[in-house]
Symmetry: C2
Subunit: 467 residues, 2 copies
């Protein structure tokens, strides 16, 4: 299988960049805001536009997949090599809400280029990063003289990611056969920074629950009864306080069961990143780091599980005071999970632990939301190696390894399809996702095109479809 | 000094009970709801009515004392004995809100008698209990043949008790000379139950604070940052959890300093009360007792200090979930205090302790509300002995000793006037204070009249004014 010559790729991209950017700008003009019901027609229009554009770019199969919410776009371009690996690219065509008055310097749905940056809602998250695959695959064909990609290429571009992907898992389950893949490439993340290309190898999972604690049948007088009956707000506080020991480790028995611990090599790779803790703290708008003993900040957010209280409430919260023992209290907890942690096991462990935290006279109710699994691709996975090589050729720089602390629908793809997930993103932290003046760096966007142009050949050359 | 003959007192009361009850009913028809601004004219009318009625009952001095809120009524009937003790009776003429649709069987401001009970808002809390002093003092005079009371009798009946007595302390300070007393008799409490006359010897004090904990400058993403920065909701929970040890004792250093511990006799007297813990729990609408190890429920609510969380809040409390580390959290704490505890010392102790509970990166703010001191009159105090004897003669039963767990403006009288506070109440727990169908038992109301008729002579016979 031939490697794509770098110069041929660059020439092709140079020749087609203007049309590519015009097309992207046209897409960005469609305000496909999935969270706002009045934009539902725009989200459908965005799906139609993408399907048509993918067909125009050569994909023999393009389909609109409806959901009970916004539609997804599926496209497929099979290889003529029956043993070529099956690669599924994931992204989304819906965007966050945006309005000029939120602080945008130009209309959010009127793309403009200023100083090498394309400003528009969705420029980086995620239309730009979806779209670089279209020119990438054509550059791959042009530079190799192929008529079909070296891999069996599939795209699944959903329309509800910014609304929490409520129908995504069902969609993937419904179409599991069509989506079958040896690997999933998610292009909906960032690299380390403008100067540091990097590949993300995993994301944390998420388990969430709400715990309600019921004490007296109604608020009762803290003078008449205080000191002699259990207070559900105290019980809620003691439960939250008991989540962590003095080393900030989670105390729930079984919580750390089965965790894939960081290897020495991974810890060393994290430590090599140009990480500035002061700057990170500014991004976190926080005034100190705090976390599990024995781990760095990057390890804590990328590779260690957490127990966080996202909300707590009980009793009187208005101005002044009210001398009551509240009738009930509530805590919302979320647990970020890392590879090796099973959400069902975590739910069982949390329920068992929580039941033991409740004093006599307090009734407890726990509700769990559907969980998201963690994903992690080993550093030595051949597909990951291909991404690193392709990115290295495009950027002509060493490629670093990162992870993300958040959780996303990619885990459903890993789960349902049983395929490892790779994260190939060329966005950077300064791109302003979900914020005013979202942008994408044009130079990096074209590096994304170049990376995919190299990637498909590299994958096919070094890895075979395992039926 | 002559003792009032019991039969003469009873005869006088029997002869005047109809007019007494008619007058009380007239007063109860005035909806003197201090918490509702549109009833402000009614509260003023109530004060005017009472001042006029006290004059009609023989008080040579009656005055309306304005405050920035609702007015109080002051009345004075000096004794012809210059060494007679100075007795100040405290009560209030304002009432809780009430509306027929809240569940009343009759109009709350249309008093009706059914089965020996007078139903109306304020019947027990507190107009009935203020008013029994008027017939009581007249019965005292009639039965002893005196023209002035055996004690220097003063009444201070405030108009904002149901609104938290916001101007009461200032009023007492302003008129401290006029209010000078050897003892204060508060008639705004209950006795143990219908069959168990009792005297209350003290009430707990109250210190209240709000603690705000500030973490990130805004809510931040629990995926991106979770596990690596301090969470203010966790800090709030850990602070609340740290308030008590495993024996439910308050852990704040210095909190128990100077406490007047219960004597063996007091513990024995508490234990003699016909206390039914199951029934008490039903009143508390709670499902277990819980409190400081080594103390009974009655000891816990009457004679032990507490630290209760009245409210806690932080982060997302709406439906579903939100994966944030909240920017801030808040707890409202109240501390019930017992004799020997100084609110200023408690505030200092809480501030010092709280400052130590805060992790690096969290900023803490504490605000204290004005405190209320505890009050406690020793069992062997001569004025208390007089109340017990007077009540015993009226009820012809042994009189028990109780306390109340709540806190009230009586403490300001003790504080400013430097006089011990006694609690003489004939209401019972079933009277429904602040609830629909508030009532007073007519038989007990007349026992209240009879008690005061005996009390003034007993006080004067056994105790002298100490200038």
């Amino acid at each position: 299988m031939s490697q794509t010559p770098d110069s041929a790729v660059r020439t092709y991209i140079e020749q087609h960049r203007a049309a590519f950017l015009d097309d992207l700008a046209e897409w960005l003009r469609i305000p496909s805001v999935s969270a706002q019901p009045d934009h539902a027609p725009d989200v459908r229009r965005s799906a139609d536009w993408l399907a048509a554009k993918l067909k125009e770019n050569g994909f023999p199969t393009t389909e609109i997949w409806p959901t009970p919410g916004a539609p997804a776009v599926f496209a497929e371009w099979p290889s003529d090599d029956p043993e070529a690996p099956m690669v599924l690219v994931y992204g989304h065509h819906d965007v966050q809400p945006a309005a000029r008055e939120d602080g945008w310097d130009s209309e959010p749905f009127e793309p403009v280029v200023r100083e090498g940056r394309l400003y528009a809602r969705g420029a980086a998250d995620d239309k730009g990063q979806v779209f670089f695959h279209t020119l990438g695959v054509r550059a791959h064909l042009a530079a190799t003289g192929r008529t079909t990609p070296a891999v069996n290429l599939k795209l699944l571009i959903e329309g509800e990611e910014e609304s929490g992907s409520p129908h995504f898992r069902a969609l993937v389950e419904e179409h599991a056969d069509r989506l079958a893949a040896d690997t999933v490439i998610v292009s909906d993340t960032s690299m380390w920074d403008e100067d540091t290309p990097s590949v993300c190898t995993g994301m944390r999972g998420l388990a969430e629950c709400e715990i309600r604690l019921h004490g007296p049948d109604q608020d009762i007088h803290s003078g008449a009864f205080g000191g002699a009956v259990p207070n559900p707000a105290t019980a809620a506080a003691r439960l939250v306080a008991a989540l962590h020991d003095e080393d900030a480790r989670v105390t729930i028995p079984g919580f750390y069961d089965g965790i894939v611990e960081l290897t020495d090599r991974e810890r060393a790779l994290f430590a090599e990143l140009p990480f500035d803790e002061e700057e990170w703290l500014r991004t976190a708008k926080s005034y100190a780091t705090h976390g599990e003993a024995g781990h760095t900040t990057l390890e804590r957010v990328w590779a260690r599980p957490t127990a966080e209280v996202n909300g707590i409430g009980g009793g009187y919260q208005g101005p002044g005071s009210k001398t009551i023992i509240p009738s009930s209290a509530m805590v919302k907890l979320s647990f970020r999970l890392v590879a090796g942690q099973d959400p069902h096991h975590i739910e069982k462990a949390v329920r068992a632990w929580a039941a033991e935290q409740v004093p006599a006279g307090i009734r407890q109710e726990i509700t769990f939301a559907p969980a998201t699994r963690p994903c992690l691709t080993p550093l030595d996975h051949p597909a990951l190696q291909s991404v690193v090589r392709a990115m290295g050729r495009a950027f002509d720089k060493p490629v670093r390894f990162t992870r993300v602390g958040g959780s996303g629908p990619a885990a459903d793809l890993q789960d349902v399809l049983g395929a490892p997930v790779l994260f190939l993103g060329i966005s950077v932290p300064s791109d302003g996702w979900h914020a005013p003046n979202e942008k994408v760096e044009l130079a990096l966007l074209l590096k994304g095109v170049e990376t995919t142009a190299h990637l498909f050949g590299d994958l096919a050359a070094n890895w075979r479809h395992e039926p």
